[in-house]
């Protein structure tokens, strides 16, 4: 009976493990197998040519670089705005629940819908943004936000800032609420300035939450697809093309399942490397 009890956990864990294998393991293994499958049926049963072709792909380096810039700027701005809004919402604000709800709104709007809305707002003829700037006299003629090579990626990042900061804000707000108030009271008694309080109490208190937010947001932003696809389809040229849109294109538009799988595998490896600090931190806690 005791032996049975000891092994009872298997029955509780098994359904979860099987589900994970089904929804995560199966597609992952299929992708890896596809990535080594030749495009044309031939003599060889597997090939690494898709991986070597990535290096020869005229767009891959640029797209990899674009993805890095997009993720860096998106996550960076999410952290800054997310922390700022979280601190405001953590303060004694009147109608706090209402402001929390408003701050969360961009996050609940689906990516594609947000992309279409902002594409219209950026439109050089009908767009609200140009209209406001023209009426305020800040510009003399309409700006081509999504067609100007210098502005296209930044415009997408700007929209992604609006779309994605509530996620970081939520995590950091939870972290802020967990910092004991007595620490701030002690700092105030000691005469610490707001800046010192921020750097010596708030930031150290949020350290773990910042790592969590960073890791999760990086993973989210590398996978960001609908927003970019609905706004620019990767254009002009490949200036806003990122790995997620490129993989989609290779798979669903060009029907190159094997090559798309190779890109996915590379993307997964990069994401795993990025997630290592997060995984390490979780394991240290345990």
């Amino acid at each position: 009976m005791r032996i049975k009890d000891r092994h009872m956990w298997i029955f509780f864990v098994l359904p979860g493990v099987l589900l994970l294998i089904l929804v995560l393991g199966f597609p992952a293994i299929t992708s890896v197998l596809y990535s080594v499958k030749p495009e044309q049926a031939g003599d060889v049963s597997y090939t690494l040519s898709h991986y070597s072709n990535l290096l020869k792909d005229p767009f891959f380096k640029t797209i990899f670089w674009n993805t890095g810039i997009f993720v860096f700027l998106s996550v960076g701005t999410h952290m800054i705005l997310g922390l700022a809004v979280a601190m405001v919402l953590n303060s004694a604000l009147p109608a706090q629940p209402l402001f929390r709800l408003i701050a969360l709104l961009p996050w609940v709007i689906p990516d594609v819908v947000a992309g279409i809305i902002w594409k219209w707002m950026f439109d050089p003829i009908y767009g609200a943004i140009n209209d406001v700037l023209l009426k305020m006299g800040m510009i003399q003629s309409s700006i081509e936000w999504l067609s100007n090579p210098k502005l296209a990626l930044l415009s997408v990042v700007l929209v992604n800032l609006w779309r994605g900061f509530p996620f970081v804000m939520l995590i950091l707000l939870a972290g802020l609420q967990a910092i004991p108030k007595v620490l701030y009271e002690a700092a105030a008694i000691d005469g610490a300035s707001n800046l010192k309080t921020f750097f010596y109490i708030t930031i150290p208190g949020l350290r773990k939450m910042i790592v969590v937010a960073l890791a999760l947001d990086i993973v989210w932003e590398v996978r960001r697809f609908g927003l970019i696809q609905s706004m620019t389809q990767g254009g002009p040229g490949v200036l806003t093309e990122v790995l997620s849109t490129y993989t989609y294109k290779q798979y669903f538009q060009f029907f190159r399942f094997e090559y798309a799988s190779a890109i996915s595998v590379v993307l997964t490896v990069v994401l795993l490397l990025v997630s290592l600090p997060y995984i390490w931190m979780i394991s240290q806690e345990e």
Binding site: I125, E144, L146, S147, M231, P236, G237, F252, F254, F255
Partner: protein
């Protein structure tokens, strides 16, 4: 006696229920998917069509599955790979080679043979050829239209142009576009442009650019479709002409690289542009966007402008039967119905799309007397289709990428086109 009556009633009820169950059991359900189901005018028309089908085939129930225009290939690819594609679905003809290469379209030869000799004679030969994979028909042709130049007659009049004399040559076209690019409210800023076109990476781009390229005498690929033909002087000239409409002559509204087909139709509907390339679908959609424009009265169409030869792009759609359908005979009945003479004419009357059937587009008075359809039908002999090879989506995406780089000034037209030429050759050599 009472017992006998009760027993009889019970048996009658049982038999009635049993026969009803049998009828339900015998009914076949087909899944039918079409991007047109997301468009108001088409949706109504297709639903009416299916009502007629249901009346004639009481044993078949058709379930309609809408899909967005952009996502249809994605949806059908995923579902086909999983063996769960709709029984009948609608795709561009240029998507067919990819579906054929993956085995996602059922061979229809046996069904066609059962219809008897001469069944396919009702269709134009070109669409039939494009439905073939390894010599066998794997899809049935649907809409068959040419791209023509749509223009707003009122805007022509306001710019001092004769609406009965649309531009015939590319030089005329540029001249007209310049005259139609105006500041209409006198605030010193241009608020109306001569020509609206797609510049985004969208499936409709090549339908709008192709007529210019072919009319200049250029082409995307060599006749054997094994190499890029974009290094020809004619292709360079066409590419530069198109780019300079935006960069030099500024007759196209700003933001070209982000403009999709619906954006451009909206510009026409809102009188922001005076001319666009379009086809049968253009007047109903523009009318829907802005009924105040009175599109069917105000718009006219003309053959695509000509440089060295008359040429235009052909739009051709196709009906595919999934190889995994459990009801191939019923699916064939549905395909046969939606491509029948009667129903193809209905699609035209309701949606203004001309048919790939000769006995509809070539003879129906409704088409021959229609001011739009008659022009489109007159251009069929000059129509060309995009290369029907599985690499085509990748090739046109590469080409559009280079065109966008030239449009936004990242590269000169010559350099951008030379890069497209090299990259397309690399794709074809793979």
């Amino acid at each position: 006696m009472r017992k006998i009556v009760t027993l009889s009633i019970c048996m009658a009820v049982f038999l009635a229920l049993f026969s009803a169950n049998l009828a339900v059991a015998a009914q076949v359900t087909l899944r039918f998917s079409d991007w047109h189901l997301t468009e108001d005018v088409w949706n109504k028309s297709l639903n009416e069509g299916m009502d007629i089908f249901h009346k004639r085939h009481s044993n078949i129930k058709v379930v309609l599955e809408p899909v967005s225009y952009k996502e249809k290939e994605t949806k059908y690819t995923v579902e086909s790979a999983a063996g769960r594609a709709p029984d009948v679905f609608h795709v561009h003809a240029f998507s067919l080679p990819m579906f054929f290469s993956k085995g996602f379209a059922k061979d229809l030869t046996s069904f066609i043979e059962k219809e008897g000799p001469g069944f396919m004679d009702a269709w134009y030969p070109l669409p039939i050829d494009l439905m073939k994979s390894k010599g066998k028909i794997h899809a049935m042709p649907g809409d068959y239209m040419t791209m023509v130049l749509f223009y707003n007659t009122e805007m022509f009049k306001a710019a001092g142009l004769n609406p009965n004399n649309p531009p015939k040559t590319c030089d005329d076209f540029l001249d007209y576009a310049k005259k139609l690019t105006r500041d209409t409210d006198g605030d010193g800023k241009i608020d109306q442009w001569g020509f609206g076109t797609l510049g985004s990476k969208s499936p409709g781009f090549s339908m709008r650019f192709g007529p210019f390229l072919w009319s200049f005498g250029g082409d995307y690929l060599t006749p054997d479709m094994k190499h890029s033909a974009l290094d020809s002087p004619e292709a360079k000239e066409a590419f530069t002409f198109f780019v300079e409409l935006y960069t030099k002559h500024k007759v196209i509204p700003p933001g070209l690289t982000a403009m999709g087909a619906q954006d451009v139709r909206t510009q026409l509907a809102q009188k922001k542009v005076a001319m666009i390339m379009g086809s049968g679908w253009t007047p109903p959609i523009v009318n829907k966007i802005n009924p105040d424009l009175k599109a069917f009265e105000v718009l006219k169409c003309a053959p695509a402008p000509t440089k060295r030869k008359q040429a235009t792009a052909i739009w051709l759609s196709s009906w595919v039967m999934s190889p995994t359908t459990k009801h191939p005979n019923e699916a064939w009945e549905l395909i046969k119905f939606i491509t029948s003479k009667e129903i193809e004419l209905k699609w035209f009357v309701d949606n203004r799309v001309t048919s790939s059937r000769k006995d509809v587009s070539g003879v129906a008075p409704e088409i021959l007397n229609d001011k739009f359809a008659s022009v489109m039908a007159s251009q069929l002999p000059y129509g060309k289709v995009e290369p029907q090879i599985k690499q085509w989506p990748e090739i046109i995406d590469t080409f559009t990428t280079s065109l966008q780089e030239a449009i936004v000034g990242m590269k000169t037209p010559d350099k951008a086109l030379a890069e497209a030429h090299e990259r397309i050759n690399a794709i074809l050599a793979r």
